[in-house]
Amino acid sequence: MSDTILLVEDEESDVEIFRLAAKEVRFENPIQVVKDGQEAMDYFSGTGKYFNRERFPLPALVLLDLKLPYRMGMVVLHWLRTQSRFKSTIVIVFTSSENALDISKAYEEGANAYLVKPSTIEGLGYLIRNLKNFWLNADVRRPEKDRERPVALSIFEPLPLTGQLPGFVKHPPRK
């Protein structure tokens, strides 16, 4: 069972502070970090540099920032919830936004919880400890099979031979 948490965060200083606070409260779960929305999606689909699932296991939970380069956090959340494999992955929004619209939208898109980043490192440590106590202790159930099902290695599969040269797209006949 993976006990990795995935932090989707573009601000390096925020990542550093998170690691410091985690250390402070003896949070020992492995922390993987991706720096933008596209990387988050690559991580989940196991594509590109994230193809090795042993090195980059599907996380027990995701802490998702909303303001991200390339793809916004909300887009990542929406994408995850449209993938049947990640429909029940625990996604916790972790952001500085206290905007009521962001909060409502996050829940509607299927966030499990919404956390506003604390302004102090002590506050963050307290949050990490309580997060761990609730989500990573033995009694809270998280869907297991979601995370253990092997990902199809589509990049290694030969392309189907359709008898067409690349570049020719066959359109279905119009009705």
Binding site: N99, I103, E108, A113, V116, N137
Partner: protein, 181 residues
């Protein structure tokens, strides 16, 4: 202080939870619905739960799976369709079946807890629940202040439809009504 709504048909479990919540330092009042039908009545403010000042909307629902009349997952589905995505629903059940866990999360449960058999473990669990859901988790202020009956899906669409995206928000697209989780 908003109540916690416990949806539980076993009177022994109601008493156990009540004590454990107290010991865990939860100060919110606890309201009990003893079956799925009552849970829906409570949230709608219908029948014996008609008086909102006596039975205010909860900040958290603790929902059992196996309930008389209307099953827990049906109640969950109803909540997500009629109340919306912002009411925190934590499943609290004897089941640890993968299929229950997965279905509950896909229907929009915020979390899934399996009842421990020992009282001390239940207390620890509820302390963790309190520290996460009643301390750190953030809900829209509108919901926290709301004391009236749940809005219908139509009024919800209208509310969001008229709110423009302002600077400082992180929305990169117009808000439209989406389904639940």
């Amino acid at each position: 202080m908003k109540p916690i709504l416990q949806v539980e048909d076993d009177p022994n479990d109601v008493i156990l939870l009540h004590h454990a919540l107290k010991n865990a330092g939860v100060k919110n009042p606890v309201q009990v619905a003893s079956n799925g039908r009552e849970a829906i009545d409570y949230l709608q403010g219908a029948g014996k739960f008609g008086d909102r000042s006596r039975f205010p909307l909860p900040c958290l629902v603790l929902l059992d799976l196996k309930l008389p009349y209307v099953m827990g997952l049906e109640v969950l589905k109803w909540i997500r369709q009629q109340i919306g995505a912002e009411l925190v629903v934590v499943m609290l059940t004897a089941s640890a079946e993968e299929v229950d866990i997965k279905t509950a999360y896909s229907l929009g449960a915020n979390a899934f807890l399996t009842k421990p058999s020992e009282a001390i473990k239940l207390e620890d669990m509820l302390r963790a629940l309190k520290d996460f859901w009643l301390t750190h988790n953030t809900l829209p202020r509108e919901l926290l202040e709301k004391t009236t009956a749940p809005r219908s899906l139509d009024s919800r669409t209208t509310i969001f439809g008229y709110l423009p995206s302002r600077n400082g928000t992180t929305h990169d697209e117009p808000l439209t009504k989406k389904g639940g989780k």
